[in-house]
Symmetry: C2
Subunit: 341 residues, 2 copies
């Protein structure tokens, strides 16, 4: 029995390639006093993983060459020498891209309550970092107010789709999505209930935003960055709030991206642009998870998970986020037998 | 007796030229019931005037072709048919670039209290829009906190120099200026008491900012924009606050400026970038003017005014702001005989 791991072989330029990572086999770590051994169930595939592969300043240090790719994920406790975890507990935390991980004082895991009637994939999507990002980004960082005109980039994505649905449920006067291609735009309106969705691949986004938000954008939730953010800034409403939680359009950039030109509209419209990292809100996860679980259980929150089978396919799964080939939250299934009761 | 006026002849591209404006003579307006006639003393020359000459969206509509150039200024009431003003009152308001202006219900003026022992030029600088911008921008928009590392662009300028001095007086742990050329940098340190001043005309600003602010910039006060703002963003501290009140480097831009690239640091550092227009704070002028007058009178606030003689030289005075040829607050003296008692 071995522990398969995906490690960083070299720093990628642009999309990751087969040369970026190595699939290696090591021994399963030994569980010492005060520790627990976790068998990994699923990995959460998030755009931020791509940023950790660069040798650039970030909110966490870059992944070192030769190290296991950093990632959150879930698993089951198969051995425990600490009262913190019981064998059989389903847990969430920094699993990284591997089959087995040790929980200790440095690397703590959160036990996921069972019996809620919500499966593991949904939990990792809506009740995980994705849903929390949507919840706190919109309500806390964005200071959402009833009546706001809300625009969401990456609207077909795991985070964006939840942002729009919370905004709609809490009384936004209009919820506009931005997504890539007619299929995703249709999904944003039909499945996620946005009022309208604009296709950024078509020309004239800036003008179209003006047409659908003639009084401007009160709250923009952005995880795309680049030209889409710039077009939105051109349409900021008086006292508008721009929440930026990511810039997926930039993470793979091969050449210097076109910079923001319309940030001076923040002056004209007395606007605010605020960045955040969901890590800061994790101590308050409970309140968001309660609210979101309620919406899942009463059927008012549509969501979907894009499952990729096999640890060895994690690098391809990460690329899907940048090619737009995924639908909903991308998860890698490492062990499909592990389920949340 | 005529009313000389400077009007907008054509929309400038880049620096304004003799073709941009016309100097015309019209009749002195007749003072009707409910109105007062004001003889203009001095004009406040502000970068924002240049933005109003463009046909672009802003916080006020563009100046129309043929209209008198919009500007604030001071003057003396020489005729009054309203109880609001007494003949002899020194007033502040929208004088525009001309020798005489009517105060009415549409265009109200603020009477400047006399007897404070502060002259008119100083009043227009420190107690005028310039000082108010510094005061509210730093303390309210920027939410200045004792111990902050504060960086100010345009630090030798009228607004920037006041920002740094207020920050220093209120307990900033370090106040760093950015200015153009060794002469201005020396002034920023020696005259205005900043801890250090960096010359943006020399290469390596980004790296130098890191050297003088190794823990990052808590509060950046920017009225320059462009590459300087981008270099500062690269050095934003955790939870840093960036206040943008202008982008003078962009107002004259002949070609598409290089856009912001480092705004994604707002995400990494959970930062905020906030724009503001001082107009929003004018109802609260009193509190700022009291605090600033106190600092002028006790000698703790250094300031200087750059006086340009003659209405006809107002266009050249405006260009000084962009060439950096001014030292301190630029004012055009229209009638040097009008003084504040």
């Amino acid at each position: 029995m071995t522990n398969r791991q995906v490690t960083l072989a070299e720093r990628p330029i642009g999309m990751i390639t087969p040369a970026t990572t190595n699939l290696i086999e090591t021994e399963i770590p030994v569980c010492k006093d005060g520790e627990a051994l976790i068998k990994v169930a699923m990995l959460s595939i998030d755009p931020t993983i791509r940023t950790w592969m660069n040798d650039a300043p970030g909110y966490l240090p870059p992944i070192e060459i030769g190290a296991v790719i950093r990632s959150s994920g879930t698993g089951v406790v198969i051995e425990s020498k600490t009262p913190r975890y019981n064998v059989g507990d389903i847990v969430f935390g920094s699993t990284n891209w591997q089959e087995y991980v040790i929980a200790d004082e440095e690397n703590k895991f959160q036990v996921i309550p069972s019996g809620m009637g919500i499966d593991l994939a949904t939990t990792m999507n809506v009740l995980g970092v994705t849903g929390l990002t949507a919840y706190f980004g919109l309500l806390e960082v964005g200071e959402f107010k009833k009546g706001d005109v809300v625009v969401v980039s990456g609207a077909a994505g795991a985070t964006g789709s939840v942002v729009g649905q919370i905004a709609k449920a809490r009384g936004a006067s209009k919820v506009v999505g931005i997504a890539g291609g007619p299929e995703k735009c249709a999904e944003v309106v039909e499945k996620y209930g946005f009022d309208v969705c604009l296709d950024y691949r078509e020309p004239g986004l800036r003008k179209k935003l003006h047409e659908v938000c003639p009084k401007g954008i009160d709250l923009f939730f952005d995880n795309v960055g680049g030209i889409i953010l710039d077009d939105a800034l051109a349409n900021i409403a008086m006292h508008g709030r721009f929440v930026i939680c990511g810039a997926i359009s930039q993470y793979n950039a091969m050449e210097k991206p076109q910079g923001l030109l319309n940030h001076t509209m923040l002056i004209m419209r007395r606007g605010t642009m605020k960045g955040f990292i969901i890590l800061d809100f994790l101590p308050r996860s409970g309140e968001a998870q309660l609210a979101l679980a309620g919406m899942v259980l009463d059927g008012s929150l549509s969501h979907q998970e894009h499952l990729v089978q096999g640890l060895e396919n994690a690098p391809d799964a990460l690329n899907l986020l940048f090619s737009g080939g995924n639908h909903g939250k991308t998860l890698v299934v490492v062990d499909e037998t592990i389920k949340l009761a």
